[in-house]
C-alpha cells in the first residue's frame, strides 16, 4: 500500500468521519445562518413585517425529507407500475369519471406549479431561517406534486381507453372556458400581489380549507367509480399538505407581533377565500357529481362539513385569538356550494366543444339523485337537459348547440372579469348578483359584488382578456381546430357530447352549427343604468 494511502487510513482511524449526523443537530446549524436583517429586505412587496425569530413546526432537514419522500414514491410508483398495471386499472375506470380526470389532473398540476412558485416567493420574503426552511421544504413538495399530477395524466394516457385529452389537455388552455379560472385562483392567487396574501391564498385557504374536499372527497368518489389510480397518487400528495397548512399557520404567527397587522389581515383573508372559492367550489362539485356514474355524498354536504364547519369554524377558530373572523362572504359561498356547480355544469354542457373532454348528459338515474339531494334541480336544470337531448345534443348530424339554444332564448353567457369564469345571469341559481360597468369604452361584467369590489380596488391587477374578447369573429370549428382540439386524424373532435365510440363529432359537424363567436359586451344594446 502506498504511503499516502496508509497516511489517510491512519488519519481516519484517529479522527473517524461521521457516518451519520443527527438531523436535528443539522437543523440547529440552520440557526447559525445569520443574514443581515438590517440591510437585507424581502424581494416582493408586502404590507406585513415578518418576524425574524419565527419558528417552524416541522424542523425538517433535507436528509430526513428525502428519506421520507423516497419511501412514499416507492409505494406510489410501485403500485402504479406493478400492481395497477396487472389489474388493468386504467380500463376499469368508469368513462364518465375518466373524462373528468382529464381536467382534474391537469388543473391540479397547474395549481401545484403555482404553489411551487408561491412557496418560493415566500422563501424570498420571510427573514427567519427556520421559517424559510419550512417554505423550502414546501417548494420541494410542490415539485413532487407537479410531477405526480403529470404522472396521473401520463398513466391514464397509456392505459385508459381514450387518451385524447390526457396527452395534450393544456394545448386547449386558450379556449377551455375553465382554464382562465384556474389561472386566476391557482396562478395569480398563489404567486402575485402581497406575498403574505399569497400565503393566505395558498396555505391558509387552498391547502387548509380546500384540499380536504378536493383531494380526500375526490379520491372517495374516484374509488367508487372504479378509479384506483387517482387515490394512489392524490392521497400521497395529501400526506404533504399538513406541512403546508402548518406553514400557513406559521406565516400568520410571524406577522402577529406587529399591531398594524390586524388592519390588513381580515381583508386578505376575505379576498383569498373568495378567490379560491369562486373556482374550487363549482369546479370540484361539478367534477364529482357530473363526472360520476356512482354517487357518494352530495357536494353541498361535504362542503358544509369541511369548509364551513371544519375550516371556517375550527381552523379559523384557532386564529380568533388574533382577532381574525370568518370571511363575510362565507354566507354567499354557502349558497354557491349548493347551486354553483350545477350552474357551471350547465355551461360546460352548453360549451362542450371547447372543453376537450367527453361529457354525458345526466340520465334518469342521475336526475333522480340530483332531485333527491337538491330539491328543485329537475325543474330548473333537468328539463333543459331533457329538451337538449330531444333536440339532438348527442347527434353529430343535428347541428345542435346548447350555447346557441341559450342565446336564442335570451340567456346570455358572460365572463366574470375578476374570477375569469363564465356565468349566465338568467339561468344561474348560485349567489349571483350581476353588474355591468363601462370605462373608457370598455365594458366589464361581474357575477357578484365581491369580485366587482376587488376589481374596483385593484384594477391594474385584473387585466384579463376574456374568451369573447379574444375570439370574437372566429367560426367555432376553425377555432377548435386552431386551438388543437382535434384528434390525430385531424378532424374528429377531442371533446364529445357522449361516451360512445360511434357517432363521434368532427369539425364538419361543428361547422353545421354555424356559430361565430360574438362578444356580448359589444353587440348587445348597452345603455347607462339609472
Amino acid at each position: 500500500m502506498a504511503a499516502s494511502n496508509l497516511a489517510v487510513k491512519q488519519a481516519l482511524k484517529n479522527n473517524p468521519a461521521p457516518s451519520s449526523v443527527d438531523p436535528q443537530e443539522v437543523h440547529k446549524w440552520l440557526q447559525d445562518f445569520t443574514w443581515d436583517f438590517k440591510e437585507k429586505a424581502g424581494k416582493y412587496p408586502t404590507k406585513y413585517d415578518m418576524d425574524v425569530n419565527t419558528r417552524e413546526q416541522f424542523k425538517l432537514t433535507a436528509k430526513e425529507y428525502a428519506r421520507m419522500e423516497s419511501a412514499k414514491e416507492e409505494r406510489q410508483f410501485g403500485t402504479l407500475l406493478d400492481g395497477l398495471d396487472r389489474l388493468d386499472a386504467g380500463n376499469k375506470v368508469h368513462p364518465r369519471w375518466g373524462e373528468f380526470m382529464k381536467l382534474v389532473a391537469n388543473f391540479l398540476e397547474t395549481g401545484e406549479y403555482g404553489a411551487l412558485a408561491g412557496s418560493a416567493l415566500l422563501w424570498d420574503t420571510a427573514q427567519s431561517p427556520e421559517q424559510r426552511n419550512g417554505y423550502l421544504a414546501q417548494v420541494i413538495d410542490e415539485v413532487r406534486h407537479v410531477n405526480q399530477c403529470a404522472s396521473v395524466s401520463y398513466y391514464y394516457s397509456k392505459h385508459y381507453y381514450d387518451p385524447a385529452g390526457f396527452t395534450n389537455m393544456r394545448q386547449l388552455r386558450a379556449i377551455n372556458p375553465l382554464y382562465p379560472g384556474v389561472k386566476r385562483a391557482f396562478g395569480e392567487g398563489f404567486l402575485a400581489g402581497d406575498a403574505v396574501e399569497s400565503s393566505i391564498n395558498l396555505q391558509l385557504v387552498a391547502e387548509a380549507c380546500f384540499t380536504n374536499p378536493l383531494i380526500v372527497a375526490l379520491t372517495e368518489w374516484a374509488a367508487a367509480n372504479g378509479d384506483e389510480i387517482t387515490p394512489t397518487v392524490f392521497l400521497s400528495i395529501e400526506t404533504d399538505e399538513l406541512r403546508h397548512m402548518a406553514n400557513g399557520y406559521q406565516t400568520i404567527v410571524s406577522i402577529m407581533n406587529n399591531p398594524d397587522t390586524m388592519k390588513y389581515l381580515q381583508t386578505d383573508l376575505d379576498n383569498a377565500f373568495w378567490t379560491q372559492h369562486k373556482f374550487l367550489t363549482p369546479f370540484v362539485g361539478a367534477a364529482l357529481e357530473y363526472g360520476s356514474r356512482f354517487k357518494v355524498e352530495p357536494w353541498a354536504k361535504s362542503w358544509n362539513r369541511w369548509v364551513y364547519e371544519d375550516w371556517a369554524g375550527i381552523w379559523l377558530g384557532r386564529l380568533q385569538q388574533f382577532g381574525l373572523k370568518s370571511p363575510k362572504c362565507l354566507a354567499d359561498a354557502k349558497k354557491d356550494a349548493v347551486w354553483a356547480h350545477h350552474d357551471l355544469a350547465l355551461l360546460a354542457f352548453a360549451l362542450w366543444p371547447l372543453t376537450g373532454i367527453r361529457l354525458e348528459l345526466p340520465d334518469r338515474q342521475d336526475m333522480e339523485w340530483f332531485e333527491a339531494n337538491y330539491p328543485g334541480w329537475y325543474e330548473h336544470y333537468g328539463k333543459i337537459y331533457e329538451e337538449w337531448r330531444a333536440l339532438g345534443f348527442e347527434d353529430p348530424r343535428s347541428g345542435f348547440s346548447g350555447a346557441v339554444w341559450m342565446l336564442q332564448r335570451g340567456h346570455g353567457i358572460f365572463i366574470d372579469h375578476t374570477s375569469s369564469l363564465p356565468f349566465c345571469p338568467t339561468l344561474g341559481k348560485g349567489a349571483l348578483k350581476p353588474s355591468f360597468l363601462e370605462k373608457n369604452g370598455k365594458r366589464f361584467a361581474f357575477s357578484e359584488p365581491h369580485g366587482e369590489r376587488m376589481w374596483l380596488q385593484e384594477p391594474e391587477r385584473y387585466e384579463f382578456q376574456n374568451f369573447f374578447e379574444q375570439f370574437e369573429g372566429w367560426e367555432l370549428s376553425d377555432l377548435v381546430k386552431a386551438a388543437g382540439g382535434v384528434r390525430s386524424d385531424g378532424k374528429t373532435l377531442m371533446a364529445q357530447p357522449h361516451l360512445r365510440s360511434t357517432d363521434m363529432w368532427t369539425l364538419d359537424d361543428l361547422k353545421r352549427i354555424n356559430f361565430t363567436v360574438p362578444d356580448p359586451m359589444r353587440i348587445l344594446n348597452w345603455q347607462p343604468a339609472h
Binding site: 429586505a41 424581494k43 416582493y44 412587496p45 408586502t46 404590507k47 400581489g193 402581497d194 398594524d260 388592519k263 390588513y264 381580515q266 381583508t267 386578505d268 376575505d270 379576498n271 363575510k328 346570455g412 353588474s435 355591468f436 360597468l437 363601462e438 370605462k439 373608457n440 369604452g441 370598455k442 365594458r443 366589464f444 359584488p449 366587482e452 369590489r453 374596483l456 380596488q457 385593484e458 384594477p459 391594474e460 387585466e463 382578456q465 374578447e469 379574444q470 369573429g473 372566429w474 367560426e475 376553425d478 377555432l479 386552431a482 386551438a483 348587445l524 344594446n525 348597452w526 345603455q527 347607462p528 343604468a529
Partner: protein, 168 residues
C-alpha cells in the same frame, strides 16, 4: 378556413412594421412612451388593441433596448443611468420621495402606474426600478387594505370613473 391565425394578426404585423422603422433610441423612447400612455395600464386612453397591447409593448421594448445598447458604450451607463442619461438612483428615489407625501390610495395607485409607465425597463435599469417599485407597491397595499372591504361600492365606482350599464 378562417384568415385569422393563432400567432399572427394584422394588428401585430402593422406594429412590427412601425417598430422596424425605428433607427435611434430617441425615436424608440418616444414611441414607447406614447404607446404606454395610450394602450397600457388601468388609465389607458383606449382598449382598441385588446390583447395585443402587451405583445406590442414587449416588441417595442426589445427594439428600444437593442438601439440603446448599440448607442451606449459604457457598461456603467447601462447599469446606473436611465435611458435618457440621468442618474437612475436619483430618478428612482425622486419617485419614492413623491410617494412619501401621498396618503390617498387612489392617488398613490395613479403614481404607481405613472412610475411603471415612465421607468419600467428599458427606461431605467431593473436594479433601480424594481426595489423602488416594491416600496411603492407595499405602501399602496397598506393604504388600500384598511378600507378595502368597507368602502361603499358606489363610492368606488365614482372614484374609478366607471358607469353602470344594462341591456336595453
Amino acid at each position: 378556413m378562417s384568415k385569422q391565425h393563432w400567432y399572427h394578426t394584422p394588428t401585430r404585423d402593422e406594429w412590427l412594421e412601425r417598430i422596424g422603422t425605428l433607427r435611434t433610441a430617441r425615436e424608440g423612447i418616444e414611441m414607447l412612451r406614447n404607446f404606454r400612455e395610450q394602450h397600457l395600464g388601468p388609465d389607458r386612453k383606449t382598449y382598441d388593441l385588446k390583447k395585443e397591447a402587451n405583445w406590442i409593448e414587449s416588441r417595442i421594448e426589445m427594439r428600444v433596448s437593442q438601439l440603446h445598447a448599440e448607442e451606449t458604450l459604457s457598461d456603467d451607463d447601462l447599469l446606473h443611468k436611465t435611458i435618457d442619461g440621468r442618474c437612475a438612483r436619483e430618478v428612482a428615489n425622486s419617485w419614492w420621495e413623491k410617494a412619501a407625501q401621498v396618503d390617498s390610495a387612489i392617488e398613490l395607485g395613479q403614481l404607481c402606474v405613472a412610475y411603471r409607465k415612465a421607468c419600467k425597463p428599458p427606461m431605467m435599469p431593473i436594479n433601480y426600478f424594481a426595489p423602488v417599485e416594491k416600496k411603492l407597491v407595499s405602501k399602496l397595499l397598506k393604504l388600500r387594505a384598511e378600507n378595502y372591504l368597507v368602502t361603499p361600492i358606489e363610492e368606488l365606482r365614482k372614484a374609478r370613473n366607471v358607469t353602470p350599464i344594462h341591456v336595453q
